[in-house]
Protein backbone atom coordinates (compact mmCIF):
# COMPACT_ATOMS: atom_id res chain seq x y z
CA UNK A 1 0.00 0.00 0.00
CA UNK A 2 2.63 2.48 1.08
CA UNK A 3 5.03 1.61 -1.72
CA UNK A 4 2.21 1.95 -4.18
CA UNK A 5 1.39 5.35 -2.70
CA UNK A 6 4.96 6.55 -2.95
CA UNK A 7 5.35 5.34 -6.51
CA UNK A 8 2.04 6.85 -7.58
CA UNK A 9 2.71 10.23 -6.02
CA UNK A 10 6.22 10.46 -7.39
CA UNK A 11 5.24 9.18 -10.82
CA UNK A 12 2.32 11.59 -11.07
CA UNK A 13 4.42 14.64 -10.40
CA UNK A 14 7.42 13.36 -12.31
CA UNK A 15 5.30 12.81 -15.41
CA UNK A 16 4.13 16.42 -15.20
CA UNK A 17 7.76 17.43 -14.96
CA UNK A 18 8.84 15.38 -17.92
CA UNK A 19 6.09 16.94 -20.01
CA UNK A 20 8.04 20.16 -19.78
CA UNK A 21 11.55 18.80 -19.72
CA UNK A 22 12.38 15.88 -21.99
CA UNK A 23 13.71 12.76 -20.29
CA UNK A 24 16.86 12.65 -22.39
CA UNK A 25 17.86 16.17 -21.35
CA UNK A 26 17.21 15.24 -17.74
CA UNK A 27 19.50 12.24 -17.80
CA UNK A 28 22.30 13.50 -20.00
CA UNK A 29 22.34 17.24 -19.29
CA UNK A 30 25.42 18.51 -17.50
CA UNK A 31 24.10 21.77 -16.07
CA UNK A 32 21.66 21.86 -13.19
CA UNK A 33 20.34 25.37 -12.77
CA UNK A 34 16.68 25.32 -11.79
CA UNK A 35 16.82 28.70 -10.08
CA UNK A 36 18.23 30.84 -12.85
CA UNK A 37 17.25 31.78 -16.37
CA UNK A 38 17.66 29.98 -18.68
CA UNK A 39 16.49 27.04 -16.65
CA UNK A 40 18.32 23.84 -17.20
CA UNK A 41 17.60 20.45 -15.75
CA UNK A 42 20.49 18.11 -16.36
CA UNK A 43 20.68 15.74 -13.43
CA UNK A 44 24.29 14.67 -13.97
CA UNK A 45 25.90 17.20 -11.58
CA UNK A 46 23.62 16.05 -8.78
CA UNK A 47 24.30 12.40 -9.54
CA UNK A 48 28.00 13.19 -9.66
CA UNK A 49 27.92 14.87 -6.24
CA UNK A 50 25.98 11.98 -4.77
CA UNK A 51 28.36 9.51 -6.35
CA UNK A 52 31.39 11.35 -4.99
CA UNK A 53 30.09 11.35 -1.44
CA UNK A 54 28.82 7.78 -1.58
CA UNK A 55 32.17 6.52 -2.87
CA UNK A 56 34.11 8.44 -0.24
CA UNK A 57 31.84 7.17 2.50
CA UNK A 58 32.13 3.63 1.18
CA UNK A 59 35.92 3.86 1.15
CA UNK A 60 35.92 4.81 4.83
CA UNK A 61 32.94 2.95 6.19
CA UNK A 62 33.09 -0.42 4.48
CA UNK A 63 36.66 -1.66 5.19
CA UNK A 64 36.64 -0.42 8.75
CA UNK A 65 33.17 -1.87 9.31
CA UNK A 66 34.41 -5.24 8.11
CA UNK A 67 37.51 -4.79 10.27
CA UNK A 68 35.35 -4.21 13.34
CA UNK A 69 33.33 -7.31 12.49
CA UNK A 70 36.47 -9.44 12.24
CA UNK A 71 38.00 -7.93 15.34
CA UNK A 72 34.90 -8.59 17.42
CA UNK A 73 34.81 -12.21 16.32
CA UNK A 74 38.43 -13.27 16.22
CA UNK A 75 40.38 -11.10 18.61
CA UNK A 76 38.22 -9.28 21.11
CA UNK A 77 37.86 -10.96 24.50
CA UNK A 78 34.34 -11.07 25.86
CA UNK A 79 34.64 -8.06 28.14
CA UNK A 80 35.88 -5.86 25.27
CA UNK A 81 33.09 -7.12 23.06
CA UNK A 82 30.52 -6.19 25.67
CA UNK A 83 31.90 -2.65 25.64
CA UNK A 84 32.24 -2.19 21.90
CA UNK A 85 28.79 -3.47 20.97
CA UNK A 86 26.86 -0.84 22.98
CA UNK A 87 29.22 1.88 21.79
CA UNK A 88 28.46 0.93 18.20
CA UNK A 89 24.77 0.95 19.00
CA UNK A 90 25.06 4.47 20.42
CA UNK A 91 26.97 5.54 17.34
CA UNK A 92 24.22 4.09 15.17
CA UNK A 93 21.54 5.90 17.16
CA UNK A 94 22.95 9.39 16.85
CA UNK A 95 20.68 11.54 14.67
CA UNK A 96 22.10 12.48 11.29
CA UNK A 97 21.83 16.20 11.96
CA UNK A 98 24.40 15.76 14.68
CA UNK A 99 26.79 14.24 12.16
CA UNK A 100 26.18 17.21 9.89
CA UNK A 101 27.02 19.59 12.70
CA UNK A 102 30.12 17.54 13.44
CA UNK A 103 31.28 17.77 9.83
CA UNK A 104 30.74 21.49 9.68
CA UNK A 105 32.32 22.46 12.96
CA UNK A 106 35.05 19.87 13.48
CA UNK A 107 36.04 18.04 10.32
CA UNK A 108 36.05 20.98 7.94
CA UNK A 109 38.15 23.35 10.11
CA UNK A 110 40.59 20.51 10.66
CA UNK A 111 40.95 20.02 6.93
CA UNK A 112 41.25 23.73 6.34
CA UNK A 113 44.10 23.89 8.77
CA UNK A 114 45.90 21.23 6.79
CA UNK A 115 45.40 22.88 3.43
CA UNK A 116 43.89 26.37 3.12
CA UNK A 117 42.42 25.74 -0.33
CA UNK A 118 39.64 23.62 1.11
CA UNK A 119 36.23 25.27 0.82
CA UNK A 120 33.92 25.68 3.82
CA UNK A 121 31.40 23.36 2.26
CA UNK A 122 33.14 20.39 0.72
CA UNK A 123 32.38 16.87 -0.35
CA UNK A 124 35.27 15.30 1.53
CA UNK A 125 34.11 16.15 5.04
CA UNK A 126 30.59 15.06 4.13
CA UNK A 127 32.00 11.77 2.88
CA UNK A 128 34.01 11.28 6.07
CA UNK A 129 31.07 11.75 8.41
CA UNK A 130 28.76 9.64 6.27
CA UNK A 131 31.46 6.97 6.36
CA UNK A 132 31.54 7.11 10.16
CA UNK A 133 27.77 7.05 10.11
CA UNK A 134 27.47 3.81 8.14
CA UNK A 135 30.35 2.17 10.02
CA UNK A 136 28.27 0.82 12.95
CA UNK A 137 25.68 -0.57 10.58
CA UNK A 138 28.26 -2.39 8.48
CA UNK A 139 30.03 -3.57 11.62
CA UNK A 140 26.99 -5.14 13.24
CA UNK A 141 25.74 -6.74 10.02
CA UNK A 142 29.22 -8.13 9.23
CA UNK A 143 29.48 -9.35 12.79
CA UNK A 144 26.23 -11.28 12.37
CA UNK A 145 27.32 -12.72 9.04
CA UNK A 146 30.70 -13.82 10.38
CA UNK A 147 29.10 -15.28 13.48
CA UNK A 148 26.87 -17.43 11.29
CA UNK A 149 29.89 -19.20 9.79
CA UNK A 150 29.86 -22.72 11.26
CA UNK A 151 32.53 -23.21 13.88
CA UNK A 152 33.55 -26.55 12.41
CA UNK A 153 34.99 -25.13 9.19
CA UNK A 154 37.01 -22.59 11.15
CA UNK A 155 38.35 -25.36 13.36
CA UNK A 156 39.19 -27.33 10.25
CA UNK A 157 41.26 -24.40 9.06
CA UNK A 158 43.12 -24.18 12.37
CA UNK A 159 43.68 -27.92 12.35
CA UNK A 160 45.45 -27.59 9.01
CA UNK A 161 47.90 -25.26 10.71
CA UNK A 162 46.60 -21.96 9.39
CA UNK A 163 47.13 -18.84 11.46
CA UNK A 164 44.28 -16.69 12.70
CA UNK A 165 44.75 -14.24 9.87
CA UNK A 166 44.74 -16.97 7.24
CA UNK A 167 41.61 -18.57 8.64
CA UNK A 168 39.87 -15.20 8.79
CA UNK A 169 40.76 -14.14 5.26
CA UNK A 170 40.64 -17.50 3.48
CA UNK A 171 37.91 -19.34 5.35
CA UNK A 172 35.65 -17.00 7.31
CA UNK A 173 35.35 -14.09 4.91
CA UNK A 174 34.65 -16.19 1.81
CA UNK A 175 31.97 -18.22 3.55
CA UNK A 176 30.33 -15.12 5.01
CA UNK A 177 30.80 -13.24 1.77
CA UNK A 178 27.20 -12.80 0.67
CA UNK A 179 26.24 -11.50 4.11
CA UNK A 180 29.14 -9.09 4.05
CA UNK A 181 28.35 -7.92 0.53
CA UNK A 182 24.71 -7.47 1.51
CA UNK A 183 25.74 -5.26 4.42
CA UNK A 184 27.95 -3.25 2.07
CA UNK A 185 25.11 -2.72 -0.36
CA UNK A 186 22.73 -1.65 2.39
CA UNK A 187 25.34 0.80 3.65
CA UNK A 188 25.84 2.24 0.18
CA UNK A 189 22.14 2.68 -0.29
CA UNK A 190 21.95 4.41 3.09
CA UNK A 191 24.81 6.75 2.19
CA UNK A 192 23.06 7.40 -1.09
CA UNK A 193 19.81 8.44 0.54
CA UNK A 194 21.39 10.35 3.40
CA UNK A 195 20.11 13.91 3.56
CA UNK A 196 20.81 16.05 6.55
CA UNK A 197 24.51 15.49 7.15
CA UNK A 198 25.22 15.99 3.49
CA UNK A 199 23.07 19.09 3.16
CA UNK A 200 24.90 20.69 6.04
CA UNK A 201 28.41 19.65 5.10
CA UNK A 202 28.57 19.55 1.32
CA UNK A 203 26.81 22.79 0.56
CA UNK A 204 24.51 23.46 -2.36
CA UNK A 205 26.40 24.14 -5.55
CA UNK A 206 25.54 21.59 -8.20
CA UNK A 207 28.82 21.02 -9.98
CA UNK A 208 30.19 18.38 -12.28
CA UNK A 209 33.44 17.78 -10.47
CA UNK A 210 35.47 14.95 -9.05
CA UNK A 211 37.52 17.16 -6.73
CA UNK A 212 36.41 16.20 -3.22
CA UNK A 213 37.45 19.53 -1.73
CA UNK A 214 34.88 21.55 -3.63
CA UNK A 215 31.33 22.17 -2.70
CA UNK A 216 28.85 19.87 -4.42
CA UNK A 217 25.15 19.17 -4.17
CA UNK A 218 23.52 15.78 -3.92
CA UNK A 219 20.11 14.56 -5.02
CA UNK A 220 18.80 14.61 -1.47
CA UNK A 221 20.29 18.00 -0.65
CA UNK A 222 18.54 19.47 -3.66
CA UNK A 223 15.19 18.16 -2.50
CA UNK A 224 15.82 19.59 0.96
CA UNK A 225 16.88 22.93 -0.46
CA UNK A 226 13.79 23.34 -2.61
CA UNK A 227 11.42 22.28 0.12
CA UNK A 228 12.85 24.65 2.72
CA UNK A 229 12.74 27.61 0.37
CA UNK A 230 9.36 28.99 -0.57
CA UNK A 231 8.77 27.40 -3.94
CA UNK A 232 5.18 27.75 -5.09
CA UNK A 233 3.36 24.48 -5.57
CA UNK A 234 2.97 23.51 -9.22
CA UNK A 235 6.03 25.36 -10.44
CA UNK A 236 8.68 23.63 -12.46
CA UNK A 237 11.14 23.50 -9.55
CA UNK A 238 8.50 21.95 -7.36
CA UNK A 239 7.90 19.25 -9.94
CA UNK A 240 11.60 18.71 -10.43
CA UNK A 241 12.07 17.47 -6.86
CA UNK A 242 9.67 14.65 -7.59
CA UNK A 243 11.68 13.65 -10.63
CA UNK A 244 14.83 13.67 -8.48
CA UNK A 245 13.01 11.73 -5.76
CA UNK A 246 11.93 9.16 -8.31
CA UNK A 247 15.53 8.64 -9.37
CA UNK A 248 16.57 8.31 -5.74
CA UNK A 249 13.85 5.76 -5.05
CA UNK A 250 14.67 3.66 -8.09
CA UNK A 251 18.36 3.47 -7.24
CA UNK A 252 17.87 2.62 -3.56
CA UNK A 253 15.18 0.06 -4.36
CA UNK A 254 17.59 -1.56 -6.78
CA UNK A 255 20.32 -1.71 -4.12
CA UNK A 256 17.94 -3.09 -1.51
CA UNK A 257 16.59 -5.79 -3.79
CA UNK A 258 20.15 -6.81 -4.56
CA UNK A 259 20.98 -7.05 -0.86
CA UNK A 260 17.77 -8.95 -0.12
CA UNK A 261 18.52 -11.44 -2.88
CA UNK A 262 22.09 -11.95 -1.67
CA UNK A 263 21.02 -12.53 1.93
CA UNK A 264 18.44 -15.04 0.80
CA UNK A 265 20.98 -16.97 -1.23
CA UNK A 266 23.39 -16.84 1.68
CA UNK A 267 20.80 -18.40 3.98
CA UNK A 268 20.09 -21.31 1.69
CA UNK A 269 23.81 -22.01 1.34
CA UNK A 270 24.51 -22.23 5.07
CA UNK A 271 21.47 -24.31 5.98
Amino acid sequence: MITLGIVLVLLGEAVLFFEEVPLVDFITGTIWAPMFEPKSFGVLPLVCGTFLITCGAAMIGLPSGLGVGLFLNDFAPNWLRSIIKPVLEILAGIPTVVYGYFALTVVTPLMQRMSPSVEVFNAASAAIVVGVMVLPMVASLCDDAIRAVPRSIKEAGYALGATKCEVALQVTVPSALSGIVASFILAISRAFGETMAVTLAAGSTPKLTLNPFESVQTLTAYIAQVSTGDTPQGSLEYKSIFAVGMLLLVVTLFFNMLAYYLVKRFRTVTE
Partner: protein, 324 residues
Protein backbone atom coordinates in the same frame (compact mmCIF):
# COMPACT_ATOMS: atom_id res chain seq x y z
CA UNK B 1 29.26 -34.24 -7.87
CA UNK B 2 30.85 -33.21 -11.14
CA UNK B 3 33.06 -30.69 -9.37
CA UNK B 4 34.17 -33.35 -6.91
CA UNK B 5 35.23 -35.64 -9.75
CA UNK B 6 37.09 -32.81 -11.44
CA UNK B 7 38.92 -32.07 -8.24
CA UNK B 8 39.95 -35.68 -7.75
CA UNK B 9 41.12 -35.89 -11.34
CA UNK B 10 43.23 -32.77 -11.13
CA UNK B 11 44.65 -33.92 -7.81
CA UNK B 12 45.74 -37.29 -9.17
CA UNK B 13 47.20 -35.52 -12.18
CA UNK B 14 49.32 -33.28 -9.99
CA UNK B 15 50.42 -36.26 -7.92
CA UNK B 16 51.59 -38.17 -10.97
CA UNK B 17 53.28 -35.03 -12.19
CA UNK B 18 55.31 -34.55 -9.01
CA UNK B 19 56.18 -38.22 -8.59
CA UNK B 20 57.02 -38.32 -12.27
CA UNK B 21 59.63 -35.60 -11.98
CA UNK B 22 60.92 -37.13 -8.76
CA UNK B 23 61.31 -40.55 -10.37
CA UNK B 24 62.96 -39.16 -13.44
CA UNK B 25 65.42 -37.24 -11.30
CA UNK B 26 66.91 -35.54 -14.36
CA UNK B 27 66.66 -32.15 -12.77
CA UNK B 28 67.28 -32.05 -9.04
CA UNK B 29 66.81 -28.26 -8.88
CA UNK B 30 63.46 -28.33 -10.54
CA UNK B 31 62.34 -30.98 -8.12
CA UNK B 32 63.35 -28.90 -5.12
CA UNK B 33 61.61 -25.84 -6.49
CA UNK B 34 58.46 -27.85 -6.89
CA UNK B 35 58.57 -29.09 -3.35
CA UNK B 36 59.07 -25.56 -2.11
CA UNK B 37 56.12 -24.37 -4.15
CA UNK B 38 53.93 -27.00 -2.56
CA UNK B 39 55.01 -26.64 1.04
CA UNK B 40 56.30 -23.34 2.36
CA UNK B 41 56.01 -22.78 6.06
CA UNK B 42 57.66 -19.31 6.22
CA UNK B 43 56.65 -18.96 9.88
CA UNK B 44 58.08 -15.48 10.31
CA UNK B 45 56.24 -14.01 7.37
CA UNK B 46 53.00 -15.62 8.39
CA UNK B 47 53.40 -14.44 11.95
CA UNK B 48 54.03 -10.92 10.68
CA UNK B 49 50.98 -11.06 8.41
CA UNK B 50 48.94 -12.13 11.39
CA UNK B 51 50.18 -9.21 13.47
CA UNK B 52 49.48 -6.73 10.68
CA UNK B 53 46.01 -8.16 10.22
CA UNK B 54 45.34 -7.88 13.93
CA UNK B 55 46.53 -4.29 13.99
CA UNK B 56 44.36 -3.41 10.99
CA UNK B 57 41.20 -4.75 12.59
CA UNK B 58 42.11 -3.09 15.86
CA UNK B 59 42.65 0.18 14.03
CA UNK B 60 39.26 0.06 12.36
CA UNK B 61 37.60 -0.61 15.69
CA UNK B 62 39.46 2.32 17.18
CA UNK B 63 38.23 4.59 14.37
CA UNK B 64 34.70 4.04 15.55
CA UNK B 65 35.50 4.53 19.22
CA UNK B 66 37.70 7.56 18.68
CA UNK B 67 35.19 9.29 16.45
CA UNK B 68 32.51 8.80 19.07
CA UNK B 69 34.73 10.23 21.80
CA UNK B 70 35.82 13.07 19.56
CA UNK B 71 32.23 13.87 18.65
CA UNK B 72 31.04 13.91 22.24
CA UNK B 73 34.04 15.89 23.35
CA UNK B 74 33.59 18.63 20.76
CA UNK B 75 29.88 18.94 21.44
CA UNK B 76 30.31 18.93 25.20
CA UNK B 77 33.12 21.46 24.96
CA UNK B 78 31.03 23.83 22.89
CA UNK B 79 27.58 23.40 24.25
CA UNK B 80 27.82 22.42 27.90
CA UNK B 81 27.84 25.94 29.23
CA UNK B 82 24.84 26.91 27.16
CA UNK B 83 22.61 24.21 28.61
CA UNK B 84 20.60 25.75 31.39
CA UNK B 85 17.03 25.99 32.50
CA UNK B 86 16.82 29.27 30.65
CA UNK B 87 17.93 27.61 27.43
CA UNK B 88 15.28 24.93 27.73
CA UNK B 89 12.48 27.30 28.70
CA UNK B 90 12.87 30.18 26.28
CA UNK B 91 11.81 30.56 22.68
CA UNK B 92 14.20 30.86 19.74
CA UNK B 93 15.40 34.36 19.14
CA UNK B 94 17.27 36.38 16.58
CA UNK B 95 19.82 37.17 19.25
CA UNK B 96 21.87 34.05 19.63
CA UNK B 97 22.65 34.37 23.30
CA UNK B 98 18.96 34.54 24.18
CA UNK B 99 17.77 31.77 21.89
CA UNK B 100 16.15 28.76 23.51
CA UNK B 101 14.50 25.53 22.52
CA UNK B 102 11.17 25.52 24.35
CA UNK B 103 9.00 25.29 21.25
CA UNK B 104 11.23 22.67 19.65
CA UNK B 105 11.41 20.48 22.74
CA UNK B 106 7.66 20.57 23.30
CA UNK B 107 7.12 19.93 19.59
CA UNK B 108 9.43 16.94 19.67
CA UNK B 109 7.74 15.38 22.69
CA UNK B 110 4.27 16.06 21.30
CA UNK B 111 5.22 14.56 17.94
CA UNK B 112 6.73 11.46 19.55
CA UNK B 113 3.57 10.92 21.57
CA UNK B 114 1.39 11.18 18.47
CA UNK B 115 3.69 8.93 16.43
CA UNK B 116 3.64 6.34 19.20
CA UNK B 117 -0.15 6.34 19.34
CA UNK B 118 -0.44 5.95 15.57
CA UNK B 119 2.44 3.63 14.72
CA UNK B 120 2.46 1.16 17.62
CA UNK B 121 -1.08 -0.24 17.22
CA UNK B 122 -0.76 -0.33 13.44
CA UNK B 123 2.71 -1.88 13.44
CA UNK B 124 2.12 -4.50 16.11
CA UNK B 125 -1.27 -5.30 14.60
CA UNK B 126 0.24 -5.85 11.17
CA UNK B 127 3.01 -8.01 12.64
CA UNK B 128 0.54 -10.17 14.59
CA UNK B 129 -1.63 -10.61 11.52
CA UNK B 130 1.29 -11.55 9.26
CA UNK B 131 2.87 -13.89 11.77
CA UNK B 132 -0.13 -15.55 13.45
CA UNK B 133 -3.10 -15.36 11.12
CA UNK B 134 -2.08 -14.88 7.51
CA UNK B 135 -1.85 -17.98 5.36
CA UNK B 136 1.37 -18.51 3.47
CA UNK B 137 0.15 -17.28 0.12
CA UNK B 138 1.83 -15.49 -2.71
CA UNK B 139 0.33 -12.19 -1.60
CA UNK B 140 1.94 -12.57 1.80
CA UNK B 141 5.33 -13.20 0.31
CA UNK B 142 4.98 -10.10 -1.84
CA UNK B 143 4.09 -8.12 1.29
CA UNK B 144 7.17 -9.56 3.04
CA UNK B 145 9.55 -8.38 0.34
CA UNK B 146 7.74 -5.09 0.17
CA UNK B 147 8.10 -4.35 3.87
CA UNK B 148 11.78 -5.24 3.83
CA UNK B 149 12.22 -2.87 0.94
CA UNK B 150 10.26 -0.06 2.55
CA UNK B 151 12.60 -0.12 5.52
CA UNK B 152 15.39 0.92 3.16
CA UNK B 153 13.68 3.79 1.36
CA UNK B 154 15.46 7.11 2.07
CA UNK B 155 13.60 9.14 4.66
CA UNK B 156 13.32 12.18 2.42
CA UNK B 157 11.17 10.17 0.01
CA UNK B 158 8.75 9.59 2.86
CA UNK B 159 8.79 13.34 3.33
CA UNK B 160 7.67 13.81 -0.25
CA UNK B 161 4.92 11.26 0.20
CA UNK B 162 3.80 13.03 3.36
CA UNK B 163 3.85 16.36 1.59
CA UNK B 164 1.57 15.09 -1.15
CA UNK B 165 -0.78 12.84 0.80
CA UNK B 166 -1.17 14.43 4.21
CA UNK B 167 -0.41 18.08 3.61
CA UNK B 168 -2.05 18.51 0.22
CA UNK B 169 -4.62 15.76 -0.35
CA UNK B 170 -5.84 15.41 3.24
CA UNK B 171 -5.40 19.17 3.70
CA UNK B 172 -3.87 18.84 7.13
CA UNK B 173 -1.55 21.76 6.44
CA UNK B 174 1.91 22.00 7.94
CA UNK B 175 0.49 20.64 11.15
CA UNK B 176 1.71 18.41 13.92
CA UNK B 177 -0.72 15.72 12.80
CA UNK B 178 0.65 15.67 9.25
CA UNK B 179 4.16 15.38 10.66
CA UNK B 180 3.14 12.55 12.98
CA UNK B 181 1.45 10.64 10.15
CA UNK B 182 4.54 10.95 7.94
CA UNK B 183 6.82 9.82 10.75
CA UNK B 184 4.55 6.88 11.50
CA UNK B 185 4.81 5.73 7.89
CA UNK B 186 8.57 6.03 8.18
CA UNK B 187 8.92 3.82 11.25
CA UNK B 188 6.10 1.35 10.52
CA UNK B 189 8.26 -1.06 8.48
CA UNK B 190 10.88 -1.14 11.22
CA UNK B 191 8.28 -1.85 13.90
CA UNK B 192 6.65 -4.57 11.80
CA UNK B 193 9.95 -6.31 11.07
CA UNK B 194 11.21 -6.29 14.67
CA UNK B 195 7.81 -7.29 16.10
CA UNK B 196 7.65 -10.22 13.69
CA UNK B 197 11.12 -11.33 14.69
CA UNK B 198 10.00 -11.21 18.34
CA UNK B 199 6.87 -13.22 17.56
CA UNK B 200 8.93 -15.82 15.73
CA UNK B 201 10.97 -16.52 18.85
CA UNK B 202 7.87 -17.58 20.83
CA UNK B 203 8.06 -21.37 21.05
CA UNK B 204 5.37 -23.23 19.14
CA UNK B 205 4.60 -25.23 22.31
CA UNK B 206 3.08 -22.15 23.96
CA UNK B 207 0.57 -21.79 21.12
CA UNK B 208 -0.21 -25.49 20.91
CA UNK B 209 -0.76 -25.73 24.67
CA UNK B 210 -3.19 -22.83 24.67
CA UNK B 211 -5.05 -24.11 21.63
CA UNK B 212 -5.15 -27.58 23.15
CA UNK B 213 -6.89 -26.22 26.23
CA UNK B 214 -9.64 -24.92 23.98
CA UNK B 215 -8.62 -21.30 23.63
CA UNK B 216 -9.51 -19.57 20.40
CA UNK B 217 -6.78 -18.29 18.18
CA UNK B 218 -7.31 -14.74 19.34
CA UNK B 219 -7.24 -15.75 23.02
CA UNK B 220 -4.01 -17.62 22.43
CA UNK B 221 -2.37 -14.61 20.83
CA UNK B 222 -3.63 -12.12 23.38
CA UNK B 223 -3.00 -14.04 26.57
CA UNK B 224 0.12 -16.05 25.72
CA UNK B 225 1.96 -15.15 22.54
CA UNK B 226 1.94 -11.37 22.90
CA UNK B 227 3.12 -11.25 26.53
CA UNK B 228 5.92 -13.69 25.74
CA UNK B 229 7.07 -11.66 22.76
CA UNK B 230 6.67 -8.36 24.63
CA UNK B 231 10.33 -7.63 25.47
CA UNK B 232 11.37 -8.00 21.84
CA UNK B 233 8.45 -5.96 20.56
CA UNK B 234 9.10 -3.22 23.10
CA UNK B 235 12.75 -2.96 22.13
CA UNK B 236 11.89 -2.61 18.47
CA UNK B 237 9.17 -0.06 19.16
CA UNK B 238 11.34 2.11 21.35
CA UNK B 239 14.33 1.98 19.05
CA UNK B 240 12.17 3.06 16.13
CA UNK B 241 10.62 5.82 18.24
CA UNK B 242 14.07 7.13 19.02
CA UNK B 243 14.73 7.10 15.30
CA UNK B 244 11.60 9.20 14.86
CA UNK B 245 12.87 11.68 17.45
CA UNK B 246 16.14 12.15 15.61
CA UNK B 247 14.82 12.22 12.07
CA UNK B 248 14.82 15.57 10.30
CA UNK B 249 14.53 15.25 6.56
CA UNK B 250 10.87 14.24 6.20
CA UNK B 251 9.72 16.98 8.54
CA UNK B 252 11.76 19.50 6.62
CA UNK B 253 9.85 18.36 3.53
CA UNK B 254 6.40 18.75 4.99
CA UNK B 255 7.32 22.19 6.21
CA UNK B 256 7.95 22.25 9.93
CA UNK B 257 8.82 25.80 10.92
CA UNK B 258 12.28 26.75 11.99
CA UNK B 259 11.20 29.81 13.93
CA UNK B 260 8.39 29.47 16.42
CA UNK B 261 7.54 31.72 19.30
CA UNK B 262 4.70 29.69 20.75
CA UNK B 263 4.05 26.19 22.02
CA UNK B 264 1.85 23.92 19.88
CA UNK B 265 -1.37 23.17 21.69
CA UNK B 266 -3.47 21.01 19.41
CA UNK B 267 -2.49 18.46 16.76
CA UNK B 268 -3.52 20.92 14.08
CA UNK B 269 -1.01 23.60 15.10
CA UNK B 270 2.20 24.42 13.30
CA UNK B 271 5.23 22.93 14.94
CA UNK B 272 8.96 22.53 14.98
CA UNK B 273 11.21 19.83 16.42
CA UNK B 274 14.66 19.70 17.96
CA UNK B 275 16.60 18.33 14.97
CA UNK B 276 15.22 21.03 12.70
CA UNK B 277 16.14 23.72 15.20
CA UNK B 278 19.65 22.26 15.33
CA UNK B 279 19.87 22.08 11.55
CA UNK B 280 18.78 25.67 11.29
CA UNK B 281 21.26 26.90 13.86
CA UNK B 282 24.25 25.00 12.55
CA UNK B 283 23.61 26.25 9.02
CA UNK B 284 24.14 29.82 10.24
CA UNK B 285 27.56 31.39 10.00
CA UNK B 286 27.69 33.03 13.45
CA UNK B 287 29.60 31.17 16.13
CA UNK B 288 27.00 31.95 18.80
CA UNK B 289 24.41 29.97 16.91
CA UNK B 290 26.84 27.09 16.55
CA UNK B 291 27.13 27.03 20.32
CA UNK B 292 23.36 27.04 20.61
CA UNK B 293 23.25 24.14 18.15
CA UNK B 294 25.73 22.19 20.25
CA UNK B 295 23.60 22.79 23.32
CA UNK B 296 20.52 21.68 21.38
CA UNK B 297 22.34 18.49 20.38
CA UNK B 298 23.13 17.82 24.03
CA UNK B 299 19.46 18.11 24.95
CA UNK B 300 18.50 15.87 22.00
CA UNK B 301 21.05 13.23 22.95
CA UNK B 302 19.80 13.43 26.53
CA UNK B 303 16.23 12.74 25.37
CA UNK B 304 17.41 9.84 23.20
CA UNK B 305 19.46 8.28 25.99
CA UNK B 306 16.50 8.50 28.35
CA UNK B 307 14.28 6.81 25.80
CA UNK B 308 16.83 4.03 25.26
CA UNK B 309 17.29 3.58 29.00
CA UNK B 310 13.50 3.20 29.29
CA UNK B 311 13.70 0.50 26.62
CA UNK B 312 16.33 -1.45 28.47
CA UNK B 313 14.50 -1.08 31.78
CA UNK B 314 11.18 -2.20 30.30
CA UNK B 315 12.84 -5.17 28.64
CA UNK B 316 14.42 -6.23 31.89
CA UNK B 317 11.14 -6.02 33.81
CA UNK B 318 9.26 -8.05 31.23
CA UNK B 319 12.00 -10.62 31.05
CA UNK B 320 11.93 -11.12 34.79
CA UNK B 321 8.19 -11.63 34.71
CA UNK B 322 8.36 -14.11 31.88
CA UNK B 323 10.68 -16.64 33.38
CA UNK B 324 9.89 -20.24 32.51
Amino acid sequence: MASMDDMLKSMSKSVTLTTGTANLGDSQIEHKAMIRAIWRPRPKRRWLAGRIFFLLTLLSTLIGLISLIFLLESILGQGWERVSWEFVSSFPSRIASRAGIKAALVGSLYLTGLVASIAIPLGVGAAVYLEEFAADTRLRRIIDVNIANLAGVPSIVYGMLGLMVFVRICALGHSLLAGACTMSLLILPVIIVTAREALKTVPMGVRLAALGLGATRWQTVRAHVLPTAMPGILTGVILSLSRAVGETAPLLMIGALSYMAFVPESPMDDFTVLPIQIFNWSARPQDEFRVAAAAGILVLLGVLLTVNACAIFARMRFQRKMQW
